[in-house]
Symmetry: C2
Subunit: 778 residues, 2 copies
C-alpha cells in the first residue's frame, strides 16, 4: 500500500484533477487519450459524450441534509403546506402527462404529414417514370430535413443528439449531466426529432420522446427555464434532488407511454431500465401520468380520425395491432420459439459489439469539430436515401394477390401500403413496399398477418442487411435518434426470414414470427424483459402472444448477457457517466474502504470556525463537492459534519463573515439564509471577488454543516459500503477511523461515486481482477 | 426527557420484556390487554395473529455480516462455486415455478370436481322437488368440507389460516413470523384450501396460492423440511436471509400467476404489494418463474381439454375472458367511469373498516380455545349454505331468452351456467344462477357480456348484500382464505347494479361495468394500482379496457386512501407484525435518535474477551438479538462491533472457551466454526448446560463479531436514520455518541425495527403527533 501512497504523492498535480473531483471538464479527456493505462490513483472515466458538448458532471445528493437551516425549514411547515406539497406533486404528475401527450401528438402529426407528402410526391415522379427527378427530390428533401435536425443539435444543444435515455438513467442514478433538461434541449429535441424521422433516417422517435418527457418534467418542476421562471410558491418544495428525481421518472415513463401508447409498459420501462431508486408511491404517480398521456392521445385520435389532420389518421400510434389474430400454438412450438430467442440474442449482442466500435470511430470524428459532425450526419442521410431509393430496382415485380386485389393494391390495405414502384399495373415491388415508406409503415408491413407470400426471401435478406448497417451508422450522428425502431426493423425482418425457413415445421404465422423476431433482437440488445414484454403486449394488442413473447425475451436476454452488457450500459460507459451498479462485485468483499482512502490524496478538512482565506484557497485548489468540518477543542478533535461546496460559495457570495473567531447566533444565520438559497447550486468560486480584509475574517460553518452525514468505519469492505452508498443515494460517504485514539483526525477520508465504481477500483488494484469471481452475482 | 428516564427505571422489569426484545411470546399479550395505554417506553405491539398460534417473531438480517469467519468463507469461494451459486439460483426459480404450477393445477382440479359433483347432486334433488334433501345434502357436504379445512388449520398449522399475504409481506420487510413456511403449513394450506373453496365459502384460493408458492420456495431453498433435509452442497449458498428473501419473492409472484394465470400481473403484484426491497435482477428471475408457471398451466389445460379430468375442463383458470368484445367508449365516458371509481373506493374502505371490527371480535373468540375456533368456522359454513340455498326461493322465475335458448339454457352457455332451480322448463332462476354455483362461475356469470336483462336489480341487490356480509364474516375464520375473490364477487355485483342504473346514459356493456366494479372495489380495499391493472388485463384478455380500468383504479385508490389504510396494512397492524413503512413520517424529522435511545433501558455491552458466566447471564436476562462488543485498552474504550445472540449461543453450545483472558488465533476459530454453522439460527439459551468451571472461563468474541455494523450518530433525526435502516435492511443499528470524549461508552444505544416504528414512537412521545403534518408524504 505504501507504494501506492508514494506514487500518489509524486503525481500530486494530476491527482488533484483526477480523484474525487466530480466537476471537471470532460472535453480535455477525449476518448483517445491514454487515460486508462492503470493509473495509480482512482481515475475519473474519460467523458466523451457522443456528439455532445458538456461542461461538467456533478453528482446528485439524495441524502437528507440535516443542517440547522434545513431543519428549521421543515419544522416550520404547517399542515397546509404539507398538503400543498402533496397536491402539487399530483398536479405536476398530471401536467407532465398532459404536455408529454400533446407534444407526442404534435410530433406524430408533423412526421406523418411531412414524410407522407414527401413520399406521395416521390411516388408521383416514379409513376411518371421520372426516376432521376424522384431520386433528386427524395434525396434533397431528406438532406434538408436532416440538415435542420443536425444544425440545431450541433449548434444549440449537443446533448439533444442521441436518444437521451442513458443520460436519464444516469441522472436517476445520481449523475447530473449538465444541459440535459433545459428548454433549449427540449425544443431542439422536438424539432430535431421531427426532422430526423421525416428524413427517413433509420431511427425512431421513441428514445427522444422519453427525453422530451423528462425535459418537460424537469422544466415543470423548477417552474420554467433558467431565465424565465414562473415563481410559484408551491414549487419551492421541489427544490431538492429527491423530488426532482421522482418527477423525471414520471416524465420518462410518460415518454415511453406516448411513444408506444403503452401506459403499463411505460411505467415498467421506467422501473426496469431507467430508475435506480423506486418506491411504491412513485409507481402509483407514474401510472397516473401515463394514464393522462393515454387519454390525451385518445382525444387527439378521436379528433383526427375523420381526416382533419392531413395524413395523420391513426398514424404513428397503434403501431402493430394484431389483436384480431387468434394465435394457435402448443407446447411443441417452444422449439422454434427458442431458436428465435437464441439467434436474436446473438444478433443483438453482435449489434451491441459493432455499435460500440462504430461509436468509438464516430467519437473521433465528432470531436474534430462542428463541421465534421454536420458532414457525418449529412453523408449518412445521403447514403440512406440512395439505398432506400436504389435498392428496390433490384427486386422483381410480383403480381398482386387477386383475391385481395381490392383491398391491398396499391396504397392501402391489410397491415400497410403496397407500392407499385416501377412495376406495371396489377403488380407490386415488395422491396419498395418496405423501403419507400415511413419506418412505422415498414414495421406494420412486416408484422402483417396472412401475408406469407407477399415478401420474398431475397427482399427480406436485403432489407435485414440494409437496416443492420443503417442501424449501426445512423445511431451516432448528431441528431435526436431512438434505438427502439431500428432494432424493431431489423428484428422483424429477421423474424420473418426465420419464419419462411421454419415454415414447414410450425403453425405460427410469419407476421407473428416478425413480432417475435423484433422482441428477441430488442431483448438481445437492450436486455429488458418485463417492460419489453408489456410494451409488446400493448403494441400488438394480443394477449395470447404473451407466453411465447416471454420465453423469447428471456432466452434472448440470457444469450445476450453471455457476450456483452446492454446497449445502454455500453453507451453509459462510452460517455463516461459514472453509473453505479445495483450490486457490488464479489471481489469488492476483499478490499476495505481504508485501502481506497489510502490511494487517494490526503483528506482536507475545515475547522468549525474557519478563516475566509482558507476557504477560498480550498475551493480554488480542489474540486471536491463537500468538505468534512472538524472541531478542535482542548486538543481533541471531533467530527462536526460535512459542508457542501455550494453552501461555501453561497457564504462567500453573501459575505456572511464574522470579525472574530466566535460561534454565531441562530438569528444571525436565519437573517441571511433561507432554505431556498441553500437548495441553489452551481455557483462558481471564480465569480466571487473578496478583498484582503475579508480574507482575514471568519466564517462560522456550524449552522451550514450537515451534522449527520452517513459514515462507515474504515475496516468495512467496499462491498458493504457500496450497499449503503447506493441504497441511500449518497454523494459523499465519510470514512471514520477504527481506532479513534490513535488517529489525529476524526475522519480519515471521503468516498464518492467515482471511488466506488468497479472499473476505477480495478484500475488502482489490478490484482483484485485476477483473484477470482469477477462475474456479477445475480 | 428525565421524566421518561425515571419512569423507565421504575418499570424496569416490564421494560426488559417490552423494548428492543424481538423474540417474545405473543400469546401473553392478547389484543384485549391494555398495552397501548401510552407506556413510557417504546412498546412492542401486541401480537394477536388472527386464528393462529405463533411462538415468537424475529427480525431478519439483510446486513452483510463482516466477521472473520464469513469473510474467510467468501474469499475461499472459487470461480466454479460462484457459477454454481448463479446456476442454482436459476434452477430454484425454475423449480419454484414448476411446483407452484403443478400444485395450482391440482387444487383447481380438486375444487372443480368436488364442488362440481356436489352441485350436480344438489341440482338433481331440486329437479326432483326434494328441496329438504337438497338442503341437507348441500349443508352437510359443505359442513364436512369446512370441518376438514378447519380441523387441519386449528390442530396442525394455525398459521395456514387466512391468506398468508400479510405475513409474506412482513417477511420480505424483514419480520420472520415463525412456522410460516414449513412443510406442515404447505400441506395444510393445500388441503385446507381445497376444502374451504369446495365448501362454497365466500373465499378464494388466490391468497392461499401466494402462500403456497412462498412455502414451496422456502422449502426448496433450504432443501426440504426441517426434519428431512436434502443435503445438496450448492444449497449452502442460500443459507442467508438475502437469498431466501429473493426466493420467497419468486414464490409469491408464482402464486399470483398461478391464481390468475397472469404472469406479468404476478411479477407486478410481488413488486407493488409484497416486496420491500427490489432489484432489476430479481425482476428478471421472478419473471422467469411466472413464465414457467404459465407453461405448466398451459400443458395441463392441453391435457384436460378433452375431458380427461372430470369436470375440470378449463375451469378455474382463464376466469373471465372477454377478449371477443369490442369496447367502444369516448372521452365522455370518463364520467360514469369516475362514478364507479368513487363509489368503489368508498365501499372498499368501508369494507376495510368493517372487516377490521369483525376481526377484532373474532380475535377474542379465537383466543378462547381451539373448540371455539372450530365452532366459529362451522357456524359460518352453515350460515353460508343456508343463504346460498334459501335465498333463490325469493327470486321469481324468468323465461329463458328464446333467441339464445339453445346456447344459454340451462347449464351451459355464454359466460356461464344458467340454473333452472325451482322453475318450470324454459325458465331460469337468476339468483340461483349466481348462488348455486362455484364462486368462479358466479363471477363469470356476472362478467358475461350482452346479458343486460338476465339479472334483475332485485337479484343483484340481494347478491351484493349477501356477499358483502359473507365477505366480512368469512375472512377471519380458521381456514385458508383469500381476499381477492370475495372482493371481486361484491365488486362485480355492485358494478352491474350501477350499470343498470346508468344504462340509459352510457354505451358501455353491463358485463364491463361488472369488471370495472370489481376493479374499483379491489382498488378501494387493497389499494394496488399497476399490478391490479395488469392482472385485470390478463384476466379479461381485453386491452381496450386498459385506459378505463386505469382510471377506475386510480380514483378508487385515491378515495379509499382518504379513509383508511389498505386491508393488508390493517391485518398487519392487527397481527402486530412490526412492518416498517417505506417513507418516514414528516414528524420524524423533529426527533433525534438520541431521544429514542434515552427512553430505552441502558445499553448492555460485552467486552472483547468476556467471561462465560456474564454471557450466559446476559442471554438469560435479556432478549436482545445482538450485543455491542466494546474493547477496553488503557482506559480508553473502543467499539469493536456487534455480536449476534445466535452466535453467542453457538459458542456456548460448542463450548469454545479459553482458560485465560487472551486473544485467540485464527486457526483455533476456524477449527471449531464454519460459515454454515454461523448461518444457523434459533438456538435457545435454556438448552445450554454449563458447569461452574466453564462459567469462569473466557470467550474471545473478536472473530465472531461483525466488525463493521452500520452506525448513526446520536444527533441524527429519526427520519434520516430510518432511511438507512429501511433501505439497507438492518436488524440492529448502533448509535454512536456525538462527542466521543465526553462519553464513557463508545456506543450509546442500539436501535431496532420496533424502535423506529411510527406507532411506537408516538406512544412514547405523544406530543409529536399533535405537532403537525401527521400525514404521509407520497
Amino acid at each position: 500500500m505504501e507504494d501506492f501512497n508514494k506514487l500518489a504523492e509524486t503525481e500530486a498535480t494530476s491527482i488533484e484533477k483526477l480523484t474525487i473531483c466530480e466537476e471537471h471538464d470532460p472535453e480535455s479527456n477525449t476518448i483517445n487519450q491514454p487515460l486508462l493505462k492503470s493509473p495509480p490513483v482512482l481515475p475519473v472515466n474519460p467523458v466523451a459524450i457522443v456528439g455532445a458538448k458538456v461542461t461538467h458532471i456533478e453528482s446528485l445528493d439524495y441524502e437528507i441534509n440535516e443542517n440547522d437551516l434545513f431543519k428549521q425549514d421543515w419544522r416550520s411547515r404547517s399542515e397546509v403546506e404539507v398538503l400543498q406539497y402533496i397536491l402539487s406533486k399530483w398536479l405536476l404528475a398530471f401536467l407532465v402527462g398532459l404536455f408529454t401527450g400533446i407534444t407526442a401528438t404534435l410530433i406524430n402529426f408533423a412526421v406523418e404529414n411531412i414524410a407522407g407528402y414527401k413520399l406521395l410526391a416521390v411516388v408521383k415522379y416514379i409513376e411518371q417514370k421520372r426516376y432521376l427527378m424522384g431520386f433528386i427530390y427524395m434525396t434533397g428533401a431528406n438532406f434538408l430535413l436532416t440538415m435542420v435536425a443536425a444544425v440545431l443539435c450541433v449548434c444549440f444543444a449537443p446533448t439533444a443528439a442521441g436518444p437521451g435515455i442513458p443520460e436519464i438513467k444516469a441522472y436517476l442514478n445520481g449523475v447530473d449531466t449538465p444541459n440535459m433538461f433545459g428548454a433549449t434541449e427540449l425544443i431542439v429535441k422536438i424539432i430535431g426529432s421531427i426532422g430526423a424521422v421525416s428524413a427517413g433516417l433509420d431511427l425512431g422517435k421513441e428514445g427522444p420522446l422519453v427525453h422530451i418527457g423528462s425535459c418537460i418534467a424537469s422544466l415543470l418542476g423548477q417552474g420554467g427555464t433558467d431565465n424565465y421562471r414562473f415563481k410559484w410558491r408551491w414549487l419551492r418544495y421541489f427544490n431538492n434532488d429527491r423530488d426532482r428525481r421522482d418527477l423525471i421518472t414520471c416524465g420518462s415513463s410518460s415518454g415511453v407511454c406516448a411513444a408506444f401508447r403503452a401506459p403499463v409498459g411505460g411505467v415498467l420501462f421506467a422501473l426496469e431500465e431507467v430508475a435506480t431508486w423506486w418506491r411504491s408511491a412513485l409507481l402509483w404517480r407514474t401510472f397516473f401520468s401515463t394514464a393522462v398521456v393515454v387519454v390525451v392521445l385518445r382525444a387527439f385520435m378521436d379528433y383526427c380520425i375523420s381526416g382533419k389532420c392531413g395524413l395523420f389518421g391513426k398514424g404513428g400510434l397503434i403501431m402493430f395491432d394484431v389483436s384480431g389474430v387468434s394465435v394457435r400454438y402448443q407446447v411443441v412450438d417452444i422449439i422454434p420459439v427458442a431458436v428465435i430467442g437464441v439467434i436474436g440474442g446473438i444478433l443483438g449482442s453482435l449489434y451491441n459489439y459493432l455499435l460500440h466500435k462504430v461509436l468509438q470511430v464516430y467519437n473521433v470524428i465528432n470531436n474534430k469539430g462542428k463541421l465534421q459532425k454536420l458532414l457525418l450526419s449529412l453523408s449518412v442521410s445521403i447514403f440512406t436515401s440512395a439505398c432506400l431509393y436504389g435498392l428496390p430496382f433490384l427486386a422483381k415485380c410480383r403480381p398482386c394477390d387477386p383475391s385481395t386485389l381490392n383491398s391491398s393494391f396499391p396504397t392501402a390495405g391489410r397491415g400497410g401500403k403496397f407500392q407499385q414502384f416501377n412495376c406495371p399495373k396489377g403488380y407490386y415491388n415488395d422491396l419498395a413496399t418496405l423501403l419507400l415508406t415511413t419506418n412505422d409503415d415498414a414495421v406494420r408491413n412486416l408484422f402483417s398477418i396472412n401475408t406469407s407470400t407477399e415478401f420474398t426471401t431475397f427482399t427480406l435478406i436485403i432489407f435485414f442487411v440494409l437496416y443492420y448497417i443503417l442501424g449501426l451508422i445512423t445511431f451516432g450522428i448528431a441528431v435526436p435518434s431512438g434505438l427502439f425502431l431500428p432494432v424493431i426493423l431489423m428484428g422483424s425482418a429477421y423474424g420473418r426470414l426465420l419464419g419462411i425457413i421454419m415454415g414447414p415445421y410450425t403453425r405460427i404465422d410469419q407476421g407473428l414470427y416478425a413480432v417475435l423476431g423484433a422482441a428477441s433482437l430488442m431483448a438481445g440488445s437492450m436486455r429488458m424483459t418485463v417492460s419489453l414484454c408489456v410494451i409488446f403486449l400493448e403494441l400488438t394488442n394480443n394477449l395470447l402472444l404473451l407466453p411465447i413473447t416471454m420465453l423469447v425475451l428471456l432466452i434472448a436476454k440470457t444469450v445476450g448477457d453471455c457476450f456483452n452488457p446492454s446497449i445502454y450500459d455500453i453507451i453509459l460507459e462510452l460517455k463516461g457517466l459514472p453509473f453505479l451498479d445495483a450490486n457490488p462485485e464479489p471481489w469488492m468483499r476483499n478490499i476495505k474502504v481504508s485501502e481506497l482512502v489510502e490511494v487517494k490524496p490526503a483528506i482536507v478538512t475545515l475547522a468549525g470556525i474557519e478563516r475566509v482565506g482558507r476557504i477560498v484557497e480550498l475551493l480554488k485548489n480542489t474540486t471536491h463537492g463537500g468538505f468534512p468540518v472538524v472541531d478542535e477543542e482542548n486538543g481533541a478533535t471531533e467530527l462536526h459534519g460535512l459542508v457542501l461546496r455550494a453552501h461555501l460559495i453561497l457564504v462567500l457570495r453573501k459575505k456572511w463573515f464574522l470579525q472574530e473567531k466566535r460561534r454565531s447566533e441562530e438569528w444571525e444565520v436565519r437573517e441571511k439564509f433561507n432554505a431556498i438559497d441553500l437548495a441553489e447550486r452551481g455557483g462558481k468560486i471564480e465569480e466571487e471577488i473578496l478583498t484582503n480584509d475579508e480574507m482575514e475574517m471568519y466564517v462560522d460553518l456550524h449552522p451550514l454543516t450537515n451534522t449527520t452525514p452517513y459514515t462507515v468505519v474504515e475496516s468495512m469492505s467496499v462491498a458493504k459500503a457500496m450497499v449503503l452508498f447506493r441504497q441511500v443515494g449518497l454523494r459523499h460517504m465519510l470514512v471514520l477511523p477504527k481506532h479513534q485514539a490513535a488517529r489525529v483526525s476524526p475522519v480519515v477520508g471521503v468516498l464518492t461515486r467515482q471511488d466506488l465504481r468497479a472499473h476505477n477500483i480495478l484500475s488502482a488494484f489490478p490484482h483484485l481482477k485476477n483473484s477470482h469471481g469477477n462475474k456479477k452475482r445475480h
